[in-house]
Amino acid sequence: MSAPAATSLPPGAARPVVSLRGVSKRFSNGTLALSSMSMDIRRGEFVSLLGPSGCGKSTALRIVAGLGQPSEGTVDWPASRIGRNGRPDADIGFVFQEPTLMPWKPVFDNAFLPLRLKGVSKAQARDTVMAALETVGLEDFARAYPRELSGGMRMRVSIARALVTEPKLLLMDEPFGALDEITRQKLNDDVLRLWHEKGLTVVFVTHSVFEAAYLSSRIAVMGARPGRVVSDMALASPAGRERDAGFRSSDAYGELCRHVSQALAGAMYAPRGAEAA
């Protein structure tokens, strides 16, 4: 496969942050959600997991976060120490596919939660939390309760919550699926800027080809039943794109989208693995 914008890996990226080796996940009801998935996520990458609904993207992301054990295979953190509780000490921010807010707490307290759990006082955290809320455009709603917000606003609170700890690894599960195009583009740019400025590593689940093509330095296309990585493409670094207003309408972007689309179509009609055999 010839990626139009394929580049060699950036230097110093040799040591993966997370490394999945032959990871399978079978749920207790017998569903095989992932089948021997192997993948390395290197520092500073912006990896998108792209695939059709139900192919195991959320499952894979949760396993990367250490939520739920794989049925087979291993998840390694070569670059992090393993803490007392058996988790890597890598700072992880996670945005769930659903907003996952505490309905009994106002927006501010919801975004404050990760810091509160770390023992930061409310007064100390105020500026950080408000800055995160500002990033997602919700600074005026700090005192509202989640049920008083729209679906997209709730999702933005959840994004702000993931940002307050300034994580090094940001895992996002279709964070912008419920948003309008304008807000989505703005937040895409915000995430790109954060990634670029703070040197984050991002794993981003999406089923939008356009979003994946815009954001990613690498796209892992997943196929369904059982879920696995069908194609793994390195792309040109998206750094600086957020400042280039013309990029979304450029030929290079169109070419990129077409290329990713083909890969996705290939994944969806790829011969089935274990089940078909």
């Binding site: 250490g66 803490g83 509780n85 992880i92 759990l117 770390k118 509202a144 309760y145 049920r147 008083e148």
Partner: protein
């Protein structure tokens, strides 16, 4: 109901205000008128047919008796109230504490749950005589009966509540390395609050019922001074107006407990739980 947040942005309340006021007025006026009508019909029926007071006293006679016998009824009411509320509070504390213990470990749950169920399904009137034998003070025994009855619904509601926390929120707490204590205090207990409130409402009603039933059992054993005992006593003496007066006090107590528990529930849930919010589409 005043469900809207006072700081809700762009609240357009003025248009609907008159309608809301009338609605509130109707909500009080309709049941009140209905109650007055019922009492009036009752009074008329008794007077027109000359029903003797030892069969069915007129509401006016019941009211007069209530005033006349206040010196007897008031201390009895206090005793019943004291038993009911101490039983309820004990059940709330005990039920919640045991529920927290049960959800901490599957082993504890497996080991203890059967006892809670056995206590619940055994009719309390059947244990009451035994408790009366074991516990020297009659009032203490009645209190224990009322406690046992109110305990289980609170326990089972709390267990259900503590277990029905959104799994992704649990994941989130895990992810940020929350301690068990933080998870309990900041996540599980608030999430269980609506269930606790449901338990409180059920337990409040049940503890009054159990206090009366247990006193009936105790009263037949020859001791007691709560409202239930006064009720039995009035029956022996064919003092039916006083029986009705005692009954009115019991109903009023029940209504007051219901109103109080509903208010507590509404106050604690009004900002966030669907059950306490009016639907606005």
């Amino acid at each position: 109901m005043v469900a809207l947040a006072d700081d809700a942005p762009a609240a357009n309340r003025s248009e609907s205000a008159p309608g809301a006021n009338r609605d509130r007025l109707m909500r009080i006026a309709v049941p009140a008128a209905m109650l007055a009508l019922t009492l009036l019909a009752w009074e008329a029926y008794v007077r027109l047919n000359g029903v003797p007071p030892y069969i069915l006293p007129a509401p006016s006679l019941v009211a007069a008796t209530l005033v006349k016998d206040w010196a007897t009824l008031w201390p009895a009411l206090l005793v019943t109230l004291q038993i009911t509320f101490s039983a309820l509070i004990l059940a709330l504390v005990g039920g919640s504490a045991l529920a927290i213990l049960l959800v901490q470990s599957r082993w504890v749950e497996l080991a203890l749950y059967p006892y809670a169920v056995i206590l619940q399904v055994t009719p309390i009137v059947a244990i009451a005589p035994l408790i009366l034998v074991y516990v020297p003070s009659t009032q203490g025994a009645i209190m224990i009966c009322a406690f046992l009855v109110a305990f289980f619904p609170i326990l089972s509601n709390m267990v259900q509540g503590l277990k029905s926390v959104d799994h992704n929120l649990l994941n989130l707490y895990d992810l940020y390395g929350a301690s068990r204590w933080q998870q309990l205090r900041m996540l599980k207990l608030p999430a269980a609050l609506p269930y606790f409130m449901a338990g409180l409402k059920i337990g409040g009603g049940l503890s009054l019922i159990a206090a009366v039933v247990a006193e009936f059992a105790a009263g037949s054993a020859g001791a007691g001074s709560g409202l239930a005992f006064r009720l039995l006593e009035s029956q022996y003496r064919m003092n039916i107006p006083r029986l009705f007066a005692a009954l009115v006090l019991l109903s009023a107590t029940g209504v007051a407990i219901f109103a109080f528990t509903s208010l507590v529930s509404w106050l604690s849930l009004r900002r966030w739980h669907e059950s306490a919010l009016s639907r606005e589409n």
